[in-house]
């Protein structure tokens, strides 16, 4: 039956990614636009019929690859759309594997969005981590490799927490793997009560930990600025959109109403703001602001009412676009000049005016200026907090939004395009507006940021809880909300210009919680080098005296036997083995990242064959 036909958009991207390297050069650019567009059209075609598709029997389980409902649709829509924009932004990149990694990464996100059970979720969750790490490694600076490994290490740990939660839950529920609202997650929806904070079972808690690690909730957040600041120019545009927002989707799906998320979300929103003040690298500053913005979404999931979930979803939607735009703007400065630090930039408005305007639009959107996208999304979460009488959370989130404007709307544009000119002559000469494809991608994102802000039905009609969305649509451009927002933002600007001397960038880095594993790793290395090596050499010395001499005598006999009897048989075998070994060696360059890449590719292909063949 035709109505049963359902094509997973991840499949389009995975198959598309594997064909890409074999295409002739002239075909590559059109192909790069066509494949994500097909995935987007595929998602659009699903709007007509919701339900479960792509059900596969595997061992004792029924796996669901395609749960299509309002919540998964809105995330899939924006993620495939962002995939088009991000690929256009990276159209000039000649290295195929950067595109392959990016597409597999998006495929991982979409797989999580559409999955209906934890088995499939975990599979795609890991695909996301293992493909996105290449977007860091492809930067190819000396430190990129180390950053990538740290990123992988943290995500593997998070994945294991998640897996442990899934397995324990499977056992506790007697075989339930469905990915739905965790039954003990929803706290008292009627109101916030602190005694419910830790009232969850261990499996639920572990699953939540796995999710919030990907959402970069402190203290599990330090991987984010570490990796996103180091990723390639185009890689960062992808990374800023997918990992954290997929985690927000998972939280909205499984952990809505968990009170602890309100606390964590508010802490996140403020934590990101504080570190953004101290940051000197523009892309790391934006990364800290992801933490801050995802804080709103996490808090929204924690509040858990229909309006708050709407807010979290709407904000994730708007955030993917404006944060992508900001990373594209700062990325184009990095691409053209090779610099991303405020202390090495400044006064560039004469050289890169268009990049300035686009970044400014992103800045105004993230700051929730009226007529820009953040205004219609962020406020929904804050309003939901007020409605639930969680006043401390609502006021602190409003405070954090002043910080957002302060940094992303004012500090980033001011210290890159105005302010003191710290550019070296070389930087200044290189600076110019970026190539056409980067400008086009920024133009599309900028248009959508303004369109969402001006025409609310576009976004609101996609939200999962329609009744609340229609209700809020009548309030969002009410006089009170506009006046409130303008006052907060404009008087924040006054504060910025009065205290601008204090905000002058300093060529420093800020120690974050990655200190523990970066320095802890060093402690381990010292331990391995000094005491353990000492113990090891003690043991081998002792062994030499006790074991070696008798062993040598016996070995003499066996070598005689071996020489005369066995060798004849083995020689023939050895030649064959050496031949095969030589073939395998060519596939292995000895670098772990290539091995991981091959392994992930093989798993992805096997998966596709298994499921869809």
């Amino acid at each position: 039956m035709i109505t049963d036909f359902w094509l997973h958009p991840s499949l389009i991207l995975i198959v598309g990614a594997f064909i890409l390297p074999f295409l002739p050069k002239w075909l590559k650019r059109p192909y790069l636009v066509i494949v994500p567009t097909l995935a987007f059209l595929d998602v659009l075609s699903m709007q007509a019929q919701h339900g479960n598709f792509g059900m596969v029997r595997f061992l004792d389980w029924y796996l669901t690859f395609g749960r299509v409902d309002a919540l998964s649709m809105v995330f899939a829509y924006i993620m495939t759309l962002m995939c088009i924009i991000g690929t256009i932004y990276g159209l000039h990149v000649e290295e195929d594997f950067q595109h392959v990694a990016a597409w597999l990464y998006v495929a991982g996100s979409l797989g999580v969005i559409f999955c209906g059970d934890y088995m499939v979720l975990f599979l795609f969750w890991e695909l996301m981590a293992f493909s996105s790490v290449f977007l860091v490694w492809f930067r190819r600076r000396p430190q990129s490799l180390a950053v990538g490994y740290r990123y992988l290490l943290v995500h593997t740990a998070g994945g294991l927490l998640l897996l442990a939660g899934i397995v324990l839950r499977y056992q506790a529920t007697g075989g339930d793997i469905s990915f739905n609202l965790l039954s003990d997650a929803a706290g008292s929806l009627a109101g916030f009560s602190s005694h419910d904070l830790f009232n969850v079972s261990l499996p639920t808690f572990l699953i939540m930990l796995g999710f919030i690690l990907n959402a970069a909730v402190p203290p599990l957040h330090a991987w984010l600025p570490d990796a996103y600041g180091e990723a390639t120019v185009t890689g960062a545009v992808f990374m800023c959109a997918f990992t954290t927002k997929t985690a927000v989707y998972a939280l909205a799906r499984a952990c809505a109403g968990m009170d602890i998320l309100v606390v964590l979300g508010v802490c996140m929103a403020l934590y990101g703001v504080v570190y953004a003040v101290l940051e000197n690298d523009s892309r790391r500053l934006l990364a800290y602001h992801i933490i801050s913005q995802v804080g709103y979404m996490v808090a929204g999931c924690g509040i858990g009412t229909a309006m708050a979930i709407n807010g979290a979803v709407a904000h994730a939607f708007a955030h993917i676009l404006y944060k992508g735009l900001l990373f594209m703007g700062c990325g184009s400065v990095l691409y053209m000049t090779g610099k991303s630090k405020f202390t090495e930039l400044g006064g560039l408005y004469k050289k890169m005016p268009k990049a300035f305007v686009f970044t400014m639009i992103g800045g105004l959107s993230i700051s929730a200026f009226p007529l820009f996208s953040g205004f219609v999304s962020k406020s929904m979460i804050v309003a939901a907090g007020f409605e639930e009488h969680i006043y401390w959370a609502a006021f602190l989130l409003t405070l954090a939004s002043a910080g957002t404007f302060l940094h992303t709307g004012l500090k980033v544009p001011y210290f890159i395009w105005f302010g003191k000119n710290n550019c070296s002559q070389e930087t200044w000469d290189k600076a110019a507006d970026p190539p056409w494809n980067m400008q086009l991608a920024m133009g599309i994102a900028a248009f959508l940021c303004i369109f969402i802000g001006c025409y609310t039905p576009y976004l609101y009609n996609m939200l999962p809880n329609q009744e609340e969305a229609h209700h809020y649509a009548q309030l969002v451009y009410g006089r009170y909300h506009v006046s409130e927002s303008l006052q907060i933002l404009l008087f924040t600007a006054v504060g910025f210009f009065l205290l601008i001397k204090k905000l002058a960038p300093e060529p420093k880095i800020s120690i974050d919680l990655d200190w523990f594993y970066r320095m802890g790793g060093r402690g381990f290395l010292w331990l391995a080098k000094k005491p353990i090596q000492w113990a090891d050499s003690c043991v081998s010395e002792g062994y030499r005296y006790v074991g070696l001499i008798p062993l040598m005598t016996t070995a003499g006999f066996w070598s005689w036997f071996d020489w005369h009897a066995i060798d004849g048989v083995v020689d023939g075998l050895a030649k064959t083995v050496r031949g095969v070994g030589g073939l395998v060696r060519r596939a292995q360059s000895g670098q772990l990242q290539y091995n991981i890449f091959f392994a992930v590719s093989i798993v992805a292909v096997a998966l596709v064959l298994y499921v869809f063949a």
Partner: protein, 83 residues
């Protein structure tokens, strides 16, 4: 063209700043006189210009607290993690 426009404003910076102050004042006046407070969530929001004061104080507090925290030793030299 864009550059010319920016330069046009930069050449008249004093005027731009004055106009901005007038704009801010008008915003608060508009809020006090013409914006109904029926959608306010809490009692404090009925204080005239509450959100203006909130925004300004929020900004100052964020800058001062963050810088104080950074200078506790959190901000350090760029090659801190290098061997």
């Amino acid at each position: 063209m864009l550059v010319k426009l920016i330069d046009f404003f930069r050449d008249r910076l004093k005027l731009v700043i004055r106009l901005s102050y007038v704009g801010l004042a008008l915003l608060v006046v508009w809020d006090v006189l013409f914006v109904s407070k029926e959608h306010a969530h809490t009692a404090v929001e009925h204080i005239p210009g509450f959100w203006a004061v909130f925004g300004f104080i929020a900004c100052v507090v964020i800058i001062i607290v963050s810088k104080w925290y950074g200078h506790l030793g959190i901000m350090t030299r760029e090659d801190y993690y290098d061997n």
